[in-house]
Amino acid sequence: MLELKDFRTKVHNDWCPGCGDFGILNAVQMALFELKLEPHNVAIFSGIGCSGKTPHFVNTYGFHTLHGRSLPIATGAKLANTALTVVAVGGDGDGFGIGAGHFVGAGRRNLDFTYVVHDNGVYGLTKGQASPTLPKGLKTKSMSFPSIVEGLNPLATAVSAGYTFVARSYALDVRHLKETLKSAILHRGSALVDVLQTCPTYNDINTKEWYAGSDLQTKSPRLYKIEDTGYDGFVKDPNNEKEVNEKKGQAIIRSFEWGDRIPIGTFYRCEQPTFEDLIAKRMPSFNQIPLIKQELYERDVTRLFESLT
């Protein structure tokens, strides 16, 4: 019987004390464990930055890749072996800055993988510069001036790009995050889980206390569960274009809600054919036998030569 500790490695962890990364790491390990996945059938991919070290702490196949490039490498591995459970993790700078093209490209394909983004508004490892999600006009402590560029909305971008599961969670609410990750991993298709996260060292604005609403008159937490307001982001009939567009539209609108009240939960979910399904339409064996198990070697190519005579 597998235990939760089987998903942990003994690698020394050098994240700052109190970092939101720990919550995400725990939630990833718990989700994999609770889904009863075997470690050798899981591969975790990361980019560069603090979040990039995550695979080293998880006892599964682990790929610590290049800045912004986790998704292409994950895509190649998944295509080679569709039996693998593929999870990519990365920071907001990694995924929405330098890796933005891949973030969009991957979503358009709707390959079956889960992308977990550590979203804390700053570049931590390079000491606190503004990340793509930092709202315009904010200045975190190591910045000389407030940001003069628009912050990117990961959820709205994901919905537009074609992700079929789009959710937001919070690094310090490990239970909600773990459940969201489980749904995302079980979802067939590209899933984005944008995880709001504190950076105790560099982001002195969106702190644990700020998320808890301690600066508000009401003293009530900023984060609330979107489902609690009767919101339903699940598309019942994926072939109904009208419904799909309405659900996408409402997800985008709600994703812009920010300030005193910030929704978390699943904004959009739709069961559409995956990239694998569509490849299998052209090449039926693709979904039956992973490429890695197919007999592809030393085949006869004489007829290709013959066709050129």
Partner: protein, 611 residues
Amino acid sequence: MIGGPQGGGINSVAETFAKACARGGLHVFANIEYHSNIKGEHSYYRVRASDREIHSHVDWIDVLVSLDKETLFGDVHKEYPTHNGHRHEVSPGGAIVYDGALKLKPEDLGRPDVNLYPVPYVDVLLGALKESGHEKELSKFQVMTNTVAFGASMALVDFDFDGVSEAIKEGFTGRKAALGDLNVRAARHGYDYVKTHFTDGFPYKLHSINSVSKRMLIRGVQAVGIAKFKAGCALQTYYPITPATDESEYLEHHEREYNIVVVQAEDEISAILMAAGAAHAGVRASTSTSGPGFCLMAEGLGWASHTEAPGPVIILYQRAGPSTGLPTRTEQGDLQFVLHAAHGDVPRMAIAPGDVTECFYDTFDAFNYSDRFQMPVVILADKFLASTYRTMSIFESANLKIDRGQIAKDPELTNGADTAMFKRYAFTPTGISPRSIPGMAGGIFHTTGDEHDEFGHITENSENRIKMMQKRMRKLDLANELIPDEKKANFFGPPQADVTLVGWGSTKGAILDAMQDLEADGVRCNFLQVRYMSPFPTNLVTRHLTSARRRVLVEGNYAGQLGELIREHTGIPMDYRVLKYNGRPFSQNEVFEGVKDAVKNGTKEVVMAHA
């Protein structure tokens, strides 16, 4: 040569002609020049046919088929002219077939020494359309004037019309068969027009001969593509780029038969990394690109090499750079870039095939090497190799053996226990660590672009760093030891000669053919063709060049990059350099002229300019 506006059907006619000649037992060499443009700019296709084996093209034209006025006179009337036409290139006694509707007077062409054959393309086409009841649809079928011109030229050289008709029909199968019939009719009318109107007996004849074996008409992208199927490549990624895309399209066309997944990525960064990810995950993977795309791949190349991915295989079809350069033209300008792309000391293999045959075998080998030595392998081809058709006997492929390198088994695999850690980067005497593949129980590994320990975890430990660098770089030495010399370089001609020609890649054919001309002109020469650029066969090259009397470098770039590479590794300089960097390939006569200028006139650097 056939020339005309892009979109005017130059390719189909030239390739049909090439096919007809190949079927007729002739040897064929057919190469195209075109602009970075979809419709309208001037393009031309040379088809050289011979009863003996040929490896190159020549600059003179025996029969020029011109579909438009620009093919004859160039675009000199334009504010920024790009060429002055091909009428000057026709050999004395040769022929020009052109549109009678241009109403040119013989003196307009300024070539009293060539035979002129005006054929009123549209009138002849109308005749063919009338015959089949399509006379009201001239505008729809106007492009078929290319076939009329083709038929006319075939009559001129007295080529058997059945061969023409068969080759045309092959291009139109299935639903297009009726169109094939119509084209045959158009060709027939062109053919008959010449037979009826011109009875001066043009002396150049082209007749079928009995050939011993069936020959393919094959170009580089096809040879590479078939090698990928043979090697069991499971994933091909690409981002559209001239002149590499044709290969991916060829693979995609046969996707179902060979279970290869072809993915169009969002950019070349993604293309190389998808392939690297797939290679790490256990399948053979490749990507194909040209210089601008390879620039974007530098980062991924470094990661794949540093993480010792068993691949990918990267096919680089060089085109004229830098930057966007001349996007549809050829060059050998990326050699040094391929050897140095990515920061740090990055082991990679680089192999430069010189013809379609080598494209096939080198690509097949590349997959074995990437698995055995766990590093990316770059095949350095170019636009000229990619797109030029040659007749070849069918390649022997039954004896090619797959070698997937060292794959870990128990007990290395920690006996299936996922809780124990596997040393993916174990230090070994050869530098090669047996690899596990994701999905294998007991093989769990971590990998990272950071410096890492044997388990693939980050460490900045000094001693480990030194050992890891040596481990990775040692694999190149191992490859150099294990790969036989005959793959690394070719040597042609007598062991001792007045002149040793030195080259690589697609100049091979022109050099081989020019050697005979040089010989006939009293210049006794041999030729060293370097194929392995990394690992570089230092001893082999030194052996061949130390005894050489005069070394003449023939290369398609500005800097003489192979010459510099040879000097870097062997200390041996080149005596003369024959270079070309106008985006066009070396012709047979151009190599002859260049080498002669160097060795007879003592010109240290000859820059060739034929277009």
